[in-house]
């Protein structure tokens, strides 16, 4: 399974850049063979994660760095393999240089209580199949959020002829590890 990102992007913590990030995620996921609905969900999850970094990690400072990496894992997606290779997935990593927090404190809140805010973590965990927040380990600052969404075969012909898995290797971008800090 490749760990080298096929797309890696650094963007500033300015909300004006969110739409571009969403579009890139959507289009990359589409080329990886995800359905339109899944592409939208992936874009939403990334948006929510970036928003959490902007608001809670950086306190709305618009000039801080955020790194977004995407890796399609599971080999070449083709119509022939899509039904026999259920491990195909899109791995998305978001890293920052914000103050580190205890990842166990990042939780969804109770949705029975109707109030503004605090929905970002819930949305991320609802949309993605795997979610992990952790402190980056290369220094005293920075969090890393790793999210995975599996590519479900729709059985349609022609889908899946999209992304090529790269040979393995560690990925790095600036400082390591960060997570989108949740508002839970």
């Amino acid at each position: 399974m490749s760990s080298t990102p096929q797309v890696r992007l650094q963007l500033p913590s300015n909300p004006l850049f969110l739409s571009g990030a969403r579009e890139m995620v959507y289009q990359f996921a589409s080329r990886c063979g995800f359905s339109d609905e899944s592409c939208g969900q992936l874009a939403l999850a990334v948006d929510e994660a970036l928003c959490n970094v902007i608001r809670h990690g950086y306190g709305k400072d618009p000039d801080k760095p955020i790194w977004l990496s995407m890796t399609f894992v599971g080999g070449v997606a083709t119509p022939e393999t899509q039904d026999n290779n259920p491990t195909q997935a899109l791995r998305i990593v978001i890293e920052d240089e914000a103050k580190q927090v205890d990842p166990t404190t990042i939780k969804s809140r109770d949705l029975d209580e109707i109030r503004p805010g605090g929905l970002g973590v819930h949305i991320i965990t609802e949309v993605m199949d795997e979610v992990r927040w952790e402190k980056r380990t290369d220094g005293p600052i920075g969090m890393r959020l790793t999210m995975m969404k599996k590519r479900v075969s729709t059985g349609k012909s022609g889908e899946g002829e999209k992304c090529v898995d790269r040979a393995g290797g560690s990925s790095s971008c600036g400082s390591e590890g960060s997570k989108g800090q949740g508002a839970a």
Binding site: G40, C51, G117
Partner: protein
Amino acid sequence: MAEGTTMGSLTLTTRTEGSAVILTASGDVDLSGSPLLRQELKKHAGKKIVVDLSAVPYMDSSGLATLVEAMQTSRKGGGQLFLCALGDRVRSIFSIAKLESVFKIVPSVEAALAA
């Protein structure tokens, strides 16, 4: 009379129809533009507000939070808040957040004005 303002990805046009205020949103309601929507909703708190979302292809939780806040303000202040013409992608985030039954969601501005 209509006034249009843009912030980030969002453009908002405001007009009145009788005693109702119609906010027509165009573009994504995300963190870059939701403050504009919040500002307009607060300005007209206590009134019958109709938010036309027919030209909104995307909304995130900052948009949801803005609408929840406005809905709660509306309830306390004797106003009304209607959301109109939600697209599939916008409706899905309401569903994920379990907020579909919390708002008055109608198919059109006309339906909201008639309610």
